[in-house]
Point group: C2
Chain length 441, copies 2
C-alpha cells in the first residue's frame, strides 16, 4: 500500500533565555532561543522532525512560512519523495510563488530547509541509521544528484563535485572507525556571552580548559574597552596555548572591523567571526586582508550556497561556518561542504541555539567521512544549554562530540518540552516571570 505524508504540526516553541542573558552578544542583547518546529507524519505512523532556530519575536512568522510549504508535501508518496530527495528539494526551493519572497533567503528559505530536513530525518529513521551514516554511505553519483548546481557551477561543477567525492572513498572505513571511537573536535562558546560578569567569564573559561577544549570563543563588539578587558581576562585564564576566537555578530562596518580586530591583536585571537554584514562578500575580502594573520570566519547568517560560493571565490574567509537551519536544508549544506572542499577552506559549523549542535554534527561527520577526509582545523561549535529538550542530545567528552548512533537527524524534541515551552500558552510563559527566573538561577 502506498504510504503518504498525511499531516503535519508546526509549533512555536520558545525558551526564556533572555532572563539569564544566555546567548547575549553585541547584536543580540536579549534573545529568547526559539524553534519553529515541524513534525511531519506519514500514513504508516512515522514522523520526520525539522525546525528553524530563531531568537524570539517572529518565531510565529517562521511557523507560518513552514505551514505555507506543507501543501507541497502533504499527500505525496513517501517512497517517491525519499527516492528523489534532489528533485524534492528543488521543487520546494523553486516553487515560484513562494520563491518570490526570498529568493532563496530568509524566512521562506529557512522554512523550505525545515521541511527538507524533516524528510531527511524520516529517511534516516526508516533506514535505521544516523543521518551522517546515511549520507556518507550514498554513492558519489547519488550525492551530486541531491545538489542544485545552477548558481554554483561557475565555482564547482558537477564533475568536480564527483571527483571530490570519489577521492573521499579512500580510507573511509578507517575514518568511520576513528569517528566512532573518538568523536569529532568541538570548541565552546559557553564562557563568552557578553552579558556575563568578568567572574563568570573567568570561571567558565577555566572550566572549558579543564573540560578538554582547545578553543573558546568570546563575544566582542559592544564596547572597545570592555572587549580589551574581557579578552585579557580570558587569555590570562587559559594561557597562551588555548585558542581564543572572537565574534562580533555583524556589529561593525568594514573599516571598523579591521580597526577593532587589530586593536585586540595583542591577545592573539584565532579568528574574528562575523566582523560585518554576512551579505558583504566584498567587505569580508577587504577585512581578511586587513586583519591577517588573524583568520576571518563567517557563515551562520550566510543565507545560501551562492553567498558561500562568492566568499570562497574572493578568498574572503579562512573558516566556513555553515548553519543547519539557515539554508535550504541538508541538500544545500552538502553543496556548501563540497564548495569548501573545492577551495580548501575548513568547515567549522555554527551551533548553539536550540538544537543546532544536535543537527550539525551530522553534517560535519559526513564532511569528514565523504568530503574533506580530515579533521585538521575543524571544530564544531558547542554551547551547553537546551540539549535536555532533545531525545538524542549531544554528548561531549574531553572537548569532542561523541558520534551519535540513534537513527535520524536528532531533530526530535521531548513532548514534555514542547508542552512546557510552547508560546504563549506553555507553562514557561504563563507562570510568573520573576519566580521562573529565580528557579532557573
Amino acid at each position: 500500500m502506498t504510504v503518504t505524508f498525511v499531516e503535519a504540526r508546526v509549533s512555536d516553541v520558545r525558551f526564556p533565555t533572555s532572563r539569564l542573558l544566555d546567548g547575549s552578544d553585541a547584536m543580540n542583547p536579549n534573545p529568547d532561543y526559539s524553534a519553529a518546529y515541524l513534525e511531519l507524519m506519514t500514513s504508516d505512523g512515522e514522523v520526520g522532525h525539522g525546525f528553524v532556530f530563531t531568537i524570539g519575536n517572529g518565531n510565529d512568522v517562521q511557523v507560518a512560512a513552514i505551514e505555507a510549504h506543507l501543501p507541497l508535501v502533504i499527500g505525496r508518496d513517501v517512497d517517491e519523495v525519499l527516492a528523489d530527495m534532489g528533485g524534492f528539494s528543488r521543487g520546494l526551493v523553486g516553487d515560484s510563488q513562494l520563491r518570490w519572497l526570498g529568493p532563496e533567503k530568509g524566512v521562506i528559505h529557512m522554512a523550505a530547509g525545515a521541511v527538507i530536513n524533516a524528510v531527511w530525518d524520516l529517511r534516516a529513521r526508516r533506514a535505521g541509521v544516523p543521518l551522517w551514516k546515511l549520507l556518507a554511505d550514498l554513492s558519489p553519483a547519488e550525492i551530486v544528484d541531491l545538489i542544485d548546481f545552477r548558481y554554483i557551477a561557475d565555482a564547482l561543477s558537477k564533475d568536480e563535485a564527483l571527483r571530490i567525492l570519489e577521492a573521499g572513498l579512500d580510507g573511509r572505513a578507517d575514518r568511520e572507525r576513528l569517528l566512532l571511537e573518538s568523536g569529532y573536535p568541538a570548541y565552546t562558546t559557553t564562557p563568552g556571552w557578553l552579558g556575563y560578569s568578568d567572574e563568570k567569564l573567568a570561571a567558565l573559561s577555566s572550566a572549558a580548559v579543564d573540560d578538554g577544549f582547545d578553543l573558546i570563543k568570546l563575544k566582542v563588539g559592544a564596547d572597545p574597552a570592555g572587549d580589551h578587558r574581557r579578552l585579557g581576562i580570558a587569555r590570562d585564564t587559559v594561557g597562551p596555548d588555548v585558542k581564543i576566537a572572537i565574534d562580533a555578530n555583524q556589529v561593525w562596518g568594514v573599516a571598523d572591523a579591521i580597526r577593532s580586530t587589530n586593536a585586540l591583536a595583542e591577545f592573539d585571537p584565532y579568528w574574528i567571526e562575523e566582523p560585518t554584514s554576512p551579505d558583504d562578500v566584498v567587505g569580508h575580502a577587504t577585512i581578511r586582508k586587513g586583519v591577517a594573520p588573524i583568520k576571518v570566519a563567517t557563515g551562520e547568517h550566510a543565507h545560501n550556497s551562492i553567498v558561500f560560493k562568492q566568499l570562497l571565490q574572493l578568498d574572503a574567509i579562512d573558516i566556513l561556518q555553515l548553519d543547519a537551519t539557515r539554508v535550504g536544508g541538508v541538500n544545500e549544506n552538502i553543496a556548501i561542504v563540497l564548495l569548501a572542499a573545492k577551495f580548501g577552506v575548513p568547515v567549522c559549523p555554527h551551533a548553539g541555539g536550540v538544537g543546532l549542535c544536535e543537527l550539525v554534527r551530522h553534517l560535519s561527520m559526513f564532511d569528514f567521512l565523504a568530503v574533506s577526509a580530515t579533521l585538521e582545523d575543524r571544530r564544531i561549535e558547542y554551547v551547553d544549554h537546551l540539549h535536555e529538550h532533545f531525545t538524542d542530545p549531544v554528548v561531549i567528552r574531553t572537548g569532542r562530540y561523541v558520534t551519535p548512533t540513534a537513527p535520524g537527524m536528532s531533530a526530535q524534541m521531548h513532548d514534555a518540552s514542547l508542552a512546557e515551552f510552547i508560546f504563549p500558552t506553555g507553562a514557561a510563559w504563563t507562570t510568573d516571570r520573576t519566580a521562573e527566573g529565580a528557579r532557573h538561577e
Copy 2:
C-alpha cells in the same frame, strides 16, 4: 494633545492574474499578483498606507511578518516618529529578535519596509505634498540622517553623500518645473510576457511604439528557440530605433547567461535583466564582461543596500533597478539612489506588480530633483495592469509618467478593491474560476 499610532490593519490582497498569464516569465509561470497591505491609523483619524508586493502563495506569511512589526509602532507618538524617520527606520530594521530572521533580507526586511513606507505616506499626507516633493525639499543634512551608513560607508561615506546632495541643489527649481510639465521617462513590459502568443506580442509591441515608448522589454529564458523567434518578431515590429531590453528572471547560471545573451545579440538587445541569481554579485561582474556591449541590469530582487553596494563596487551592472517594496523602505532606497549616483550608474526602477509603478515614481523623481539631476538613460518600468485599484494611480502620457501631485506615497487602494480581492474570502476568490477567467478575457 499627543497623537499616537493606535491600530493597524494588515490585509492579504490577491489578484487572480494567473488566469490570463499576465506577468508570466521563465521563473514565474503563473503569478497571482498580490499585496500584503498595511493601513496604519493614528489617534487623530489619519491613515498611512504601505504594502509588500508578492505573487500569490506566501502572501499570508508576509502579512504575519508585517504584523510582527506592529508592536514597534503602535502606541508611539506620531510627531516624534515623523521627526526622526532615520531613528525610526533603524529601530525597525535593527530589532534584534526580528533581525535574526533576515538579517535585512526577505520576508522580514520587506515587512519593515512596508511599515516604514506607511509612515512616509502619512508624513507626506500630513504635509499635503506628494512624497517626491517632501523628500526633495529636505535639506542634505536631513536626508543623510535618514540613512544607516554602517554597512555601506566603505563605498559611500556620509560626507560623500552630503556632497552629492549639495551639488543636487543646483538647478533644482528648473528640474521641478520640467518634471511637472513633461513627467519622467517610462518603458513598457506590457508586450513581453512569456505566456503571450506571438500575435499578441507583435500587436502589443506595435501599440507600445504608437503610445510613445522608446524601450520595450521581453521576457526570455524559457527556451532558446522561442527567445530567438520572439525577439525577432519584436525587432521586426518596432524597427531598429526602439530599444528592446530582455529579462531572464534569474533562470540562468553564469556561463549560461553569457552564452544565452550573446546568442540573441543579432537583435541588438539593450540590456539583459536578472541574468542570474540576484545574490551573485561576483557572477554579475563576470556576466557583464562576457556580454558587453549589451548592458547588465538587476535589482528587483537585490535584498538590501549592501548587495547594491557590491554590484557597484565590482562594476557588475550598467543599470540599477531598485524596487519600492523589496528593501527596507524609503530610507534604504534613498541610500541606494545615492550609491548609484556615487558610482555613476543610472537608476531604472523595477515596477509593474501591484502598485509598484505608483510607489516608485516618487523615488525616481526624488532622484532626478535631488541626487542625479539628470534623466539621461533613466526610465521607470511601466506595466498597464491593476492601477485601477489605487486611489492615486499612475498616468502615462506619450511614454512618460505624469508627475503625481496628490499628497502621500500613492500607496492607498480603493476600499472596494480590498473587499473584492481579499484572500480567500473576497468575491474574486469565491466566485467560479472558469466564469471569472472568461469575464476577464
